[in-house]
């Protein structure tokens, strides 16, 4: 049973509380709708996120294999030297997307390398073919990595919002609204009780007045 609010049982408070109950009920309904919609969106995204992560993890493992082969064939110095100055840059732009009033970033990127051969930041003389494989593999994975970053952030942000909304819905449903209902009922009963008390008092007074009048009449006779 919900705790009743500590207010004086007056007609004014009753009206105010009734208004609050109406707002709370309406808010609860809206929040619930928001929660349901977010949940629908979220589950879809989370599933996608899982799939994407699996794909990225798998392909990255392959890429690391290529790299370790390359580093086995080449000396460490040469390998580091050849990767020292990247030819390709990435220009990343962050946009905005609004999902149920949650702002999530959208990443769009452009690589500055103009043609496909430009991804290798070294001459071919001192490096091995394995390194080429590794680098081109990484270039292939890169868009996936970015997509994963965007998805994962989106999932995290929506999860936070969903948690908040869920809590609000529950607070309204199980605390706020029952509390208001109980208090309203209490005030109404109290007011009714006062009304009845008044009525009986009036009747009593009337009886007394009649009795007095009869008494007076009798003594005058």
């Amino acid at each position: 049973m919900a705790e009743r609010l500590n207010v004086n049982p007056t007609r004014m408070n009753l009206t105010a509380l009734k208004k609050r109950l109406k707002t709370a009920t309406r808010g609860h309904k809206l929040m619930k709708d928001k929660r349901d919609e977010l949940m629908k969106e979220f589950l879809e995204l989370a599933r996608e996120n899982g799939r994407l992560r699996e794909a990225v993890e798998q392909r990255l493992t392959g890429m690391y294999q290529n790299f370790s082969i390359a580093s086995a064939v080449m000396s460490r110095e040469i390998m580091e030297e050849s990767l020292m100055i990247p030819k390709q840059g990435v220009v990343l732009d962050v946009g905005n997307k609004n999902i149920m009033s949650v702002n999530v970033p959208v990443f769009s990127f452009e690589t500055t390398a103009s043609d496909a051969g430009d991804i290798y930041p070294y001459g071919y003389a001192s490096t091995s073919g394995e390194l080429d494989n590794a680098i081109s593999g990484l270039t292939d994975i890169f868009p996936l990595l970015l997509e994963l970053a965007a998805k994962e952030k989106e999932v995290q942000l929506i999860a936070a919002e969903l948690e908040k909304t869920r809590r609000r819905v529950n607070a309204l449903e199980y605390v706020m609204i029952p509390q208001l209902q109980v208090t309203i009922k209490y005030i109404q009963m109290k007011l009714d009780e006062n009304e009845r008390g008044n009525q009986t008092r009036l009747m009593k007074v009337k009886d007394m007045m009649i009795a007095e009048a009869i008494e007076e009449r009798r003594s005058n006779m």
């Binding site: 989370a46 899982g50 992560r53 690391y64 370790s68 991804i119 990484l138 969903l162 948690e163 869920r166």
Partner: protein, 107 residues
């Protein structure tokens, strides 16, 4: 104009330089924490962290969880996927729904 960074041990992150990421090499969790704190304030939109380091500095990473930017993403290092990245996803589901209903108990 935003930048993309990656934090991890030398061998894991070496190649990422070639695709235009900014590479921060470090092996210790303390170092990683320091780097993350520093570049978290700069204009990095995405920061990749190898799973092993990410696990060690998860409290630091959690601070950015509710920010729009930067997105801090754990990726497997050269040791292969440890499953902690996947766990993060199911943790998000748990946070949102109250129970992990998608990935079967964080496995």
């Amino acid at each position: 104009m935003y930048r993309i960074g990656i934090i991890g041990d030398r061998e894991s992150v070496l190649g990422f330089k070639a695709v235009g990421l900014e590479v921060f090499t470090c092996d210790q969790a303390d170092e990683a924490r320091k780097i993350l704190r520093k570049i978290g304030k700069e204009d990095f939109a995405i920061i990749y962290v190898t799973e092993i380091l990410a696990e060690q500095i998860s409290e630091e990473i959690d601070k950015y969880k509710d920010e729009r930017i930067p997105a801090i993403i754990a990726i497997p290092g050269k040791e292969g996927p440890s499953g902690s990245g996947m766990r993060n996803v199911s943790k998000a589901v748990e946070r949102a729904v109250g129970a992990d209903i998608l990935f079967g108990g964080g496995k």
